[in-house]
Amino acid sequence: MVTRPNRVHRATFLAGLAVLASVGCRQSSREVVVYTSVDQVFSEPVFRAFEQESGIRVRAVFDTEETKSTGVLNRLIAEAGSPQADVFWSGDPVRQMALVKRGLVEAYVSPRAEGLPPGLRASDGTWAGVAARARILLVNRERLGTEAPPRSVSDLADPRWKDRAAIANPLFGTTTIHVAALFTAWGEDGARSFLEALKANGVKIASSNGEVKRLVVAGEVAFGLTDTDDAHEAQQDGAPVDVVYPDADGLGTLVMPTAVVLLRGGPHPEAGRKLVDALLSAETERRLAESAAHMPLRPGVATPTGVRSISEIKAMTVDYGRVAEEMEKIQPWLRQWAGL
């Protein structure tokens, strides 16, 4: 009477176990495992191109918008006892410092990193930069009307914009780095006062930069602090938004290259080196410039229309190593500030 469901369950279970076992046993030497906080929509085509050129299969773990840069980073730290990944491609130049500090990185001076300026690569070969984003103000033209647009990060705290601006939660993503950079530039007191002023000014704290973009595009706020790739996406969708590179006549705009590291003890070190070389190539910069409006770091790479080159903006002078230290230092206070 009831043998059929049992049979179905048994068959499903056994079939599933067989599939899982077959997947489990399939360990190939012609593969490489990469964890990345560069958006999947931009990084996956780069991996597919590498697969075609090298014949090496790329198995990737991507980050989500909400945990951007810290999700996979913390997974790498949690997995340190038995490393699963060969390469970490960070969406910013700061997170990988946490791995370097914990001894989880294998020094590797890629020939492709040779032409980079000193600030954009580590002299000991622990990391190297490729294609950069900038922190910008995304402004909704329609919500703004005839008002003059904001020009500085400080405008977030200006009463003129009360309840009409947004930033992402500074505990996560590139906003953490930006806040830490402000602590290094303005000092502890100045940066703390600024963050308290944001609260008083009713700045909306979104869950991510992507969320800031969504709030600006939907006109929920007049402007928000986010990254160039988010802004590019909004513009590609035809949203009524403009991009302001903040503090052109002051502190400058924060520029953040993505960073590539080879991980210590990864299962496929040789393939890992090949992937690092490929990620640090001019071709990767070109791809990211075209798909994600990243700014190329190598002088020979053309900048597509609509994408600014680093030389066209005033970049904030920043020591990423110091920002990394500051970022760790301010976390307890930031959590308190965020009410968590």
Partner: protein
């Protein structure tokens, strides 16, 4: 001599067969649910300052209180919506109830964050029906309560509807001779399905309490955000995060205690074998109003999903989807199906033990509830700690780790559902078989499973749905290139084309709905056959 030893061994095994089988299931619960939490507990024990610093300020207490209030409100609204709807869809002749029911349950196939996104497309400032006022309501506590209640109400509806189909038709038929439909519902049917209502209330409370994405999206402070800040932030502090959730243990136990106090050890005259034979309750002059109610609720539940379909339709979302979907649906379906089977098998053994009040079963019951109530990212950290070892690479680096994670988090579905189902049947059949000499395994496979075939199928389907909709557990340890669809939607959501993300979400709903419909059809054929 050998024969005597053999006979003695057989007698011994028979005498202890039930305990041995329960012990095997207990090992399953220990491996999937307890070990990950145990290693975290060890971290806290090794570093007591974590515990003190986590609770030293008033903020975590305030957040815990707020989340408790939020979860209680969500549970109340979900019950108000779900119980009447479960009755109307499950037992009455309301017009179009099957289609409306299917529309109503769709939200439960998606992570709630995507539903919030759907509501944003409807009621955001620039949404289809949006204004400044609707946006203000959406981005508030009230908005979070409504979004979550509508997301979780289908859990109540489906559990009530299924339980109603299990009520012994003779009870209902007798009552209908002397009472009107409303009286039959209030006096006979609802008390008969009280265990299912209690179970659904616990599930909704736990889901709402541990929900992270919706409160973050709607900018509502919630306790899981505090836990997440210690796992997803720069200062990775899993010990402190676990210290924060330790007080959840008494909360989980209190929930169980409440359920037992409310439901007690009542045995209901419910069988579940004649479900297809009964007539539906005729609503008479109330039919039009009841049908309208069903369709309004279904429309409300389906609105965010329809908004996602609508968004996908704009900008070639469905056409481009193929380039981005990869093997994600396959990864989710395979790991989900295997996990659901494990959950059902362990659930049958432990649920039976709970229903029959065997020693140790309550502890197992409490442990699976605790694993469910624990915020998923924390369970994920524990799973990495336990399973990320060189010798276990065939598990940790493959889809098998998703099965481990799903089984740990959703074991409660199998145990609780089957405990409720089995507790509603008389143990007389089993006792008669035992008197005739049948061992426990034989009684379990020959009597308990056949009698509760529909309940088993429902538990499997419910577990499958929870595995397929899971995001928060899998996101922390999914194997490279082995992500399920929900994870892929979220990783693509970062700057991915919105229509493609909406199309993936829509396809995920369709695949899950298809799996449920096929599963329900097979189960109903099996029960009839």
């Amino acid at each position: 001599m050998a024969a005597a030893v053999g006979r003695a061994l057989t007698r011994f095994l028979r005498a202890y067969e039930q305990r041995a089988i329960l012990a095997v299931a207990a090992v399953g619960v220990a491996v999937f649910c307890v070990l990950p939490l145990g290693v975290l507990l060890a971290r806290v024990a090794l570093s007591p300052p974590d515990a003190t610093s986590a609770w030293s300020s008033s903020r975590p207490w305030i957040l815990a209180a707020r989340s408790t209030g939020l979860a209680l409100a969500v549970t109340a609204v979900a019950l108000v919506v779900g119980v009447p709807l479960g009755v109307l869809v499950g037992r009455t002749d309301a017009a179009g109830r099957r289609v409306a029911g299917l529309l109503h349950v769709q939200p439960v196939f998606l992570p709630p964050f995507l539903l919030a996104l759907g509501w944003f497309h409807v009621f955001g400032r620039r949404g289809a029906l949006g204004s400044e006022a609707t946006s203000a309501v959406l981005f508030s506590e009230a908005g979070a309560i409504l979004v979550l209640a509508l997301a979780f109400a289908p859990v109540v509806t489906s559990l009530v509807a299924v339980a109603l189909n299990g009520v012994d038709p003779s009870l209902e038929e007798a009552a209908r001779l002397v009472a009107r439909p409303l009286r039959v519902i209030a006096g006979i049917l609802l008390p008969a399905v009280a265990p299912a209502i209690a179970l659904s209330a616990i599930a909704v409370f736990a889901l709402a309490f541990s929900e992270l994405g919706v409160p973050m999206f709607l900018r509502v402070d919630a306790f899981p955000s505090a836990v997440f800040a210690r796992l997803g932030g720069v200062d990775y502090a899993p010990g402190e995060a676990f210290a924060l959730v330790l007080p959840l243990a008494p909360v989980a136990l209190a929930l169980l205690g409440l359920e037992r106090r409310f439901v007690g050890r009542r045995s209901f005259a419910v069988l579940g074998l004649r479900a297809s034979e009964r007539d539906r309750l005729k609503l008479g002059r109330w039919r039009a109003a009841a049908s309208a109610l069903v369709w309004i609720a279904a429309g409300l539940s389906g609105a965010p999903v329809l908004a996602l379909f609508w968004r996908a339709g704009q900008g070639d979302g469905f056409a481009q989807m193929g380039a981005w979907v990869g093997r994600a649906p396959w990864n989710g379906l395979v790991s989900g199906a295997v996990a659901a089977t494990l959950i059902t098998l362990v659930g049958l053994i432990v649920g039976h033990a709970v229903a029959r009040g065997l020693p140790g079963s309550r502890a197992l019951d409490a442990l699976v509830v605790l694993a469910f109530v624990t915020p998923a990212p924390l369970l994920g950290v524990g799973i990495i700690d336990v399973w990320n070892r060189p010798a276990l690479r065939p598990v940790y680096g493959t889809l098998a780790i998703l099965v481990v994670g799903y089984a740990g988090r959703y074991m409660v579905i199998g145990v609780r559902t089957l405990a409720v189902v089995i507790s509603q049947s008389s143990p007389q059949l089993e006792e008669a078989a035992a008197v005739a000499g049948a061992g426990f395994l034989r009684r379990l496979t020959g009597i308990v499973a056949p009698v509760h075939a529909r309940g088993l199928a429902f538990a499997w389907l419910l577990a499958l749905v929870f595995c397929l909709r899971d995001l928060e557990t899998a996101i922390l340890f999914y194997p490279p290139a082995g992500e399920p669809t929900t994870v892929r939607i979220f990783t693509l959501e970062a700057n991915g084309p919105e229509p493609v993300v909406a199309a993936l979400a829509s396809a995920h709903v369709a695949i899950t709905a298809a799996a449920v419909v096929v599963g329900a059809w097979r189960a109903s054929r099996g029960a009839r056959g």
